[in-house]
């Protein structure tokens, strides 16, 4: 094998492993159920994966920075309850409130970034605290599942353009955004800071700005996930957000994003999110207890972590 091909495979090994796992899951699923490789199935699966993909997009940006954002859970809950209680039926009102929720997400995330940076606190602890605060506020606004959004809002998931459903177009747009974003100045400095904060600082990067942007974007995407989630559930829930905290981290890690920062990308995260969602379908198709779902997810996570650790070791041994 030529050196450059070998290097390429080593660099991409975690992502490629995720792709192989996705293909394996799809193949198994297809052998049990008809119609897996159809546009309808793509629309359906993407529709159920989209909330996770959106939340995990923000999480990916924060992880690339070398941090972690647990507050996305609180933000998702808060976003759905605000939407479900304030939307009403007036489209103008809905557009305004949607924008407000997205802005709120960004501001709360930015506040996380400011606290982590200026007080030199652990991202884990700061975002754990904001998660708790946001969940509490969501509970105060709407103590139990409820509220409502208009029917046309719920219809988004079923809307179609050229045969592809709204969520699929959203995912395409998101991937397009990513290919632009990662090579912008901001995208590069976020990755660089996650890779080596000291080197980035020495090269003149303002770490404060990087933190505000990274956590702000995470809050923004969590809020976007909340808005999308209301199109799926048709209402608000003050507790639903916690279902997205660890899965958003897991999706990124399965897709080859390194928790040490600096390494990985959104394509991996999207693959990781699909793996997590499809495991649910697979367990259903296998007609086994749904309790097998976390067991399988955990095993896949282990495979992902082992792959990145092994490839790094191999690459290091080679460089010496």
């Amino acid at each position: 094998m030529s050196t450059s091909l070998r290097n390429y495979l080593l660099d991409k090994a975690p992502f490629l492993t995720a792709c192989v796992m996705l293909v394996a899951i799809l193949a198994t699923y297809a052998s049990l159920q008809r119609g897996v490789f159809s546009i309808d199935e793509l629309n359906l699966v993407t529709g159920s994966a989209m909330t996770l993909i959106l939340v995990a997009t923000g999480q990916t940006i924060v992880i690339l920075r070398g941090g972690i954002d647990l507050s996305v859970g609180g933000m998702v809950s808060l976003g759905t309850v605000i939407a479900a209680t304030q939307f009403g039926t007036d489209p103008v009102n809905i557009v305004l409130w949607s924008s407000a929720i997205l802005l709120l997400g960004f501001l709360i995330g930015a506040a996380n970034g400011v606290m982590i940076n200026s007080l030199q606190l652990q991202p884990f602890l700061v975002t754990l605290a904001t998660w708790s605060v946001l969940s509490g506020v969501a509970m105060i606004i709407l103590p139990t599942d409820g509220g409502s959004v208009p029917d046309w809002w719920i219809g988004f998931g079923y809307s179609e353009l050229l045969g592809l459903a709204g969520p699929v177009w959203m995912m395409i747009a998101l991937i397009g955004f990513w290919f632009w974003f990662k090579s912008t100045r901001l995208g590069t400095t976020i990755r660089a800071t996650g890779s080596s904060e000291k080197s980035a600082f020495l090269s003149g990067v303002s770490i404060m700005r990087v933190d505000i942007a990274a956590y702000g974007l995470s809050g923004f995407f969590a809020a976007a996930g909340a808005l999308y989630l209301t199109t799926q559930t048709g209402g608000g829930s003050p507790i639903i957000g916690k279902d997205y905290i660890l899965p958003s981290v897991a999706a990124a890690v399965i897709g080859g994003v390194s928790l040490f920062g600096g390494r990985g990308g959104l394509m991996g995260t999207v693959v990781g999110a699909f793996i997590l969602i499809l495991i649910g379908s697979l367990v259903f198709a296998l007609r086994i207890s749904s309790h097998w779902q976390p067991v399988l997810s955990g095993m896949i996570l282990l495979v992902a972590v082992l792959t990145s650790s092994l490839t790094e070791k191999t690459a290091k041994g080679q460089a010496q």
Binding site: D11, S196, S199
Partner: protein, 499 residues
Amino acid sequence: MDLIEVSGLTKRYGGIVALEQASFSARAGEVHALIGENGAGKSTFIQILAGAVAHDGGDVLFDGAHYNPANPDDAETTGVTAVFQELSLIPDLTVEENIWFRREPRRWWGAADRRELRRKTLDLFEKYEFPPIQADRDVRRLTLAEQQIVEIAKGLAKSTRVLILDEATSALPAKETEWLLKLTRKLAEEGLLVIFISHRMGEVRSIADRMTIFRNGSTVATHVTDEVSDDEIVAQMIGRQMDRLYPERHDTTTGRIALKVSNLECGSRLRGVGFELREGEVLGVGGLQGHGHRELFQSLFGASRSTGEVELWGRAARFNSPNQALSGRDGIALVPEDRGGQGLLNSMSVRENLTLSVQRRMTWCGLVDSKREAALVREMVDLLSIKVETPEQEAGTLSGGNQQKVVFGKMLLTEARVLLLYDPTRGVDVGTKSEIFQLMRDLAAQGYAILFHSSDMPELVHVCDRVMVLRAGHVAALLDRSAISEEAILRAAVLEKDT
């Protein structure tokens, strides 16, 4: 008119003076070398020039105007670029992304212009005849030498009038070193001022027009390279007085070999080290920082992976972990360099610290024999005269010297008779230093064998029976009692010829 003129430059960190009344002057078109021991003030000096550190006193003139950059960016705008020994590269970005980091050519929609980026990188490589490096590889995949070359490329990518190279050759193989030296000359001929820091006298002689010598945080003299001898330079680098801090040395070495090491290798930092340490001997390990001392100590203690043969008291012994190394009378004990981080648990009591490594000596069926423990602790507190109110006092509340004594006590309790002391007097007051030296000699007289590294050269000269000098992971010289002097150590450490 010189390009850079420095007078009375002073920098303090708290109470410590890093630079005092340094003066310096250099003109465009010359290669100007800075030489001096570790800690002589060279790094502080160039950090000030590069805008990484602000000075407290004195004046810097750049091209006749006052120069006081707020940060490295600011210095680069003025025309001073530094390539530091501590690399500033981003491991997960590619070579080309690193070279042009934050100055990438961009398209109107904000994305980096990859093609232009590649073109500029290849142009730069061609212009300065860089050794071949793949432009699209992630920097973390490169060897240390390659990373150093990328760092140099990053410096050259900025249009600059002063280029500072901080030990840029220390990580490079011979061929690349030759390239860099040639390049340095060429840059100077094109009108750049190159400030060149190296510990290798041969390199300095081959390219520097002039050199400025640093000692104890100040500048001593500036010479034209061709008009000064090696002897004069070494004398000016040392030039300090000896204290009455050291114990009398009696030769207590026996014929018995305590530790025999051969072909010890550890990565690229340790390349086949071999020596013998005898019972009753204090063997010093000298040389400049980053030449394999840390790796030697860590390898012997089982804290770093290494290959080679190690014999303890005549029996083969290879340790894979400190836990194995600390296995009783035939083991090895280490006083690590970083007392706070590696040697001492600040929030635990003096008693717990002392007995942490020797639980086995005082437990019976898993239970601690507290009478036995108290006796052992008492013995150490007395032997080392550790000043504590009670052994239950938190270790973090002790003075630096007393903390170091606790670390010594912890090591002695392991009963190992081969001791590795890595810079045990760093950050310790003079009184305790003197006690530590006395203790070392006493232990040697009792039959302990001691391997001793110090970053302070006079300590090696006045405490050791023999001194081994490491350079680039090799034993550059092994000096007998009669041959030990600062001059001899420094010569072996900086001059390319083995003495």
